[in-house]
Symmetry: C2
Subunit: 134 residues, 2 copies
């Protein structure tokens, strides 16, 4: 099954865009694929799976830098699952930190929005609060 597909089809099959695939190659996530005589990129099945892997990891918010490591680990038969788990936990920690920050903002914004009458008068507790000198 050494089926080779062009970048547009690889994009469709992976859920990425051709633009992103080229960018990932440029960023060193992917090895340079084969080319036709005319210079068209050709992807085999293994490379397509790598693209899908990247997409899954992107959907979980891993950075390209992190994904580069994850791909290395994936392709390394000598890896220790410890290393992978560590990356997941670190990323999880960042996610949880961001959630906390956003929840704090959510709380403040909710209070502000609630306290503002929101009518045609210029009096606005939101602006008052933003302008407060603390």
């Amino acid at each position: 099954m050494h089926q080779l597909i062009t970048i547009g089809n690889a994009a469709k099959a992976s859920g990425l865009t051709a633009k992103m695939i080229r960018h990932y190659e440029q960023s060193g996530l992917l090895q340079r694929p084969a080319r036709t005589e005319a210079g068209y990129r050709l992807y085999n099945n293994e490379q397509l799976n790598q693209l899908k892997f990247i997409r899954q990891a992107r959907n979980l918010g891993f950075s390209l830098h992190e994904i580069k490591s994850l791909l290395s680990l994936w392709q390394d038969p000598e890896r220790e699952s410890r290393a992978v788990k560590l990356m997941a936990e670190q990323h999880l920690h960042e996610i949880e930190t961001k959630i906390s920050e956003l929840q704090h903002i959510q709380q403040v914004l909710t209070e502000l929005a609630t306290s503002c009458r929101g009518d045609s008068s210029p009096d606005c507790s939101i602006l008052q609060q933003l302008a407060k000198i603390d």
Copy 2:
């Protein structure tokens, strides 16, 4: 009290950096401040309050574009508090959407991290899941 301060002191007093203050001026958030003969920017008290306002709004995650609107509303005695409240609610909605997205990621990552033994063996359910073809 027409006390004029240079950008470094305005930065300290507002909690921004001089770099950011110049950038906000460049982006049209702030009117061009007075200058000394040597070209140093000089900020008065009203402008300092604007800087503090910007910082508060930035801390709530408003974009510079949104802050430009908020500043306009703040300075407009004819404003309707409705407009301000609407902006706050729209921003709140975006925040809540982001929180939901991150919580979904959090859930998946937690499951993944839990399911991986994290030892010296190469077997790793995280990688298996990322590589899954769905």
